[in-house]
């Protein structure tokens, strides 16, 4: 199941297109479709290579760009020509409108940040004993209140999202170094092979961190990496033993 949408902070295909247009300093009314399409597709390929899930909307936009591009290649006096203008004009109108709303939302966001700094207070407690009529409460309204409060706090926003959707293991190099050092001490002179440091359920992130930790240790804490030829496992040994 997919999750956390924004790929590198892009809210959607229009957002990505606006980014490319700004990056290339292009006039929004005069977009070189062919170049933008190329850059757009290559961005999607990058995400794909990073194993990121690409939302359907990005793919639909890619198809739209390709269609505009292919129609542009047709001779102008073809019957389809009018249609091509429509496709491109529609895209530009969408981009222009989206850009305006992006500006509005940034403006409202700034105001929101300021208002978040205002503190309101609860009613002062004054005992009121009259009219103890039984209350009729709406459970849906209570639920809404609770949900609203949770959403206000980032940490609770995560707490209410089912955990399997936000799993993101974090490894840091220092901890890894400690771990590897301990393992090397245990193995003594024989040393360790790289593959022995990797457990069966290891994630890509952890492999990368393990490697970074080893490189750091080569520089700072006297270990030696030995590899007989490329693309095979390598041995990790402590240099300290030689000194001893």
């Amino acid at each position: 199941m997919g999750y956390a949408v924004s790929l590198e902070g892009f809210e959607g295909p229009l957002d990505l297109l606006i980014h490319l247009i700004q990056k290339n300093k292009i006039d929004i009314y005069d977009i070189p479709i062919s170049e933008i399409t190329k850059q757009y597709l290559s961005q999607i390929q990058v995400w794909k290579k990073l194993d990121m899930e690409v939302a359907s909307e990005f793919i639909v936009m890619a198809a739209r760009l390709l269609e505009i591009k292919s129609r542009m290649l047709l001779p102008k006096d073809e019957v389809e020509s009018e249609n091509e203008e429509d496709l491109q004009a529609r895209l530009i109108r969408q981009l222009v409108e989206y850009k305006i709303f992006k500006e509005i939302s940034a403006y409202l966001g700034t105001r929101e940040q300021r208002e978040l700094c205002a503190i309101y207070r609860d009613p002062e407690y004054i005992p009121i004993n009259e009219d103890k009529e039984p209350l009729v409460l709406d459970p849906m309204a209570l639920m809404q209140s609770f949900k609203g409060l949770l959403l206000l706090k980032e940490e609770d926003r995560e707490a209410i999202v089912p955990p399997q959707k936000i799993i993101r293991e974090l490894f840091n190099v220092e901890e890894k170094i400690t771990e590897i050092t301990a393992a090397l001490v245990q193995c003594g002179q024989a040393g360790l092979s790289f593959s022995e440091l990797l457990h069966p359920f290891i994630s890509r992130d952890e492999v990368v961190v393990t490697l970074l930790a080893l490189l750091e240790m080569v520089k700072t804490s006297g270990i030696r990496l030995e590899q007989n030829r490329v693309f095979i496992d390598f041995q990790i040994r402590r240099e300290v033993e030689d000194l001893g």
Binding site: Y29, E57, L108, E112, C117
Partner: protein, 190 residues
């Protein structure tokens, strides 16, 4: 009861109530005209501009409420160990901007404008009480219409919707500049 006394009483009511109090309620309970109450509110607003004051008067439509001044937040947070809320995600913010300027508006229009599905963003805004249902559009499927709430006005510090900058302020003439003829011309130049 003279004007000063009335000011004191109203400040006391707003302080004691904490929550927003309607002009009507004040008129009824104090037996005063809306004009008299509004006059006092102006006095209070003025008073609170003094930097020796720690509150400000927040007006949303015809309701009044006191809050602390945002510029004092860092000190207040320190003493009260207040955890600041993060504010809306960008998806929710974009959706809210569209509802604010296009209300009443359907989900379909929002989706088209953003180029992505906005259903979860809409749900969040509903949960936060920033938007609400505004009936249904008389069209096939009778889709739900959304509008902003008074809570939205509070969250961005406006007294009413009319206080929001005109849409044209943001489009900066882009709208006029944009017409299909212009694009066709551009195209032929290539």
């Amino acid at each position: 009861m003279d004007s000063d006394e009335l000011t004191g009483i109203i400040e006391g009511i707003l302080f004691g109530a904490g929550e927003a109090i309607g002009l009507n309620d004040l008129c009824r309970c104090l037996d005063k005209s809306p004009l008299e109450i509004r006059f006092v509110m102006e006095i209070l607003k003025q008073d609170y501009q003094d930097k020796a004051r720690g509150m400000r008067l927040v007006q949303i439509k015809d309701t009044y409420q006191l809050s602390t001044k945002p510029e004092h937040y860092d000190y207040i947070r320190e003493v009260l160990k207040h955890k600041q809320s993060t504010g809306l995600s960008r998806a929710a913010q974009e959706t809210l901007a569209i509802v604010a300027y296009r209300q009443p508006v359907t989900r379909l229009v929002i989706d088209e404008l953003r180029g992505v599905s906005s259903s979860s963003a809409i749900q969040r805004l509903l949960d936060r009480g920033l938007i609400s249902d505004a009936g249904r559009l008389e069209a096939p499927g009778r889709p739900i219409l959304y509008k902003t709430t008074p809570e939205f006005l509070r969250s961005v510090g406006f007294t009413n919707l009319e206080e929001m900058p005109e849409f044209e302020v943001f489009s900066q003439g882009k709208q006029e500049q944009f017409d299909l003829n212009g694009i066709e011309t551009n195209n032929k130049q290539e």
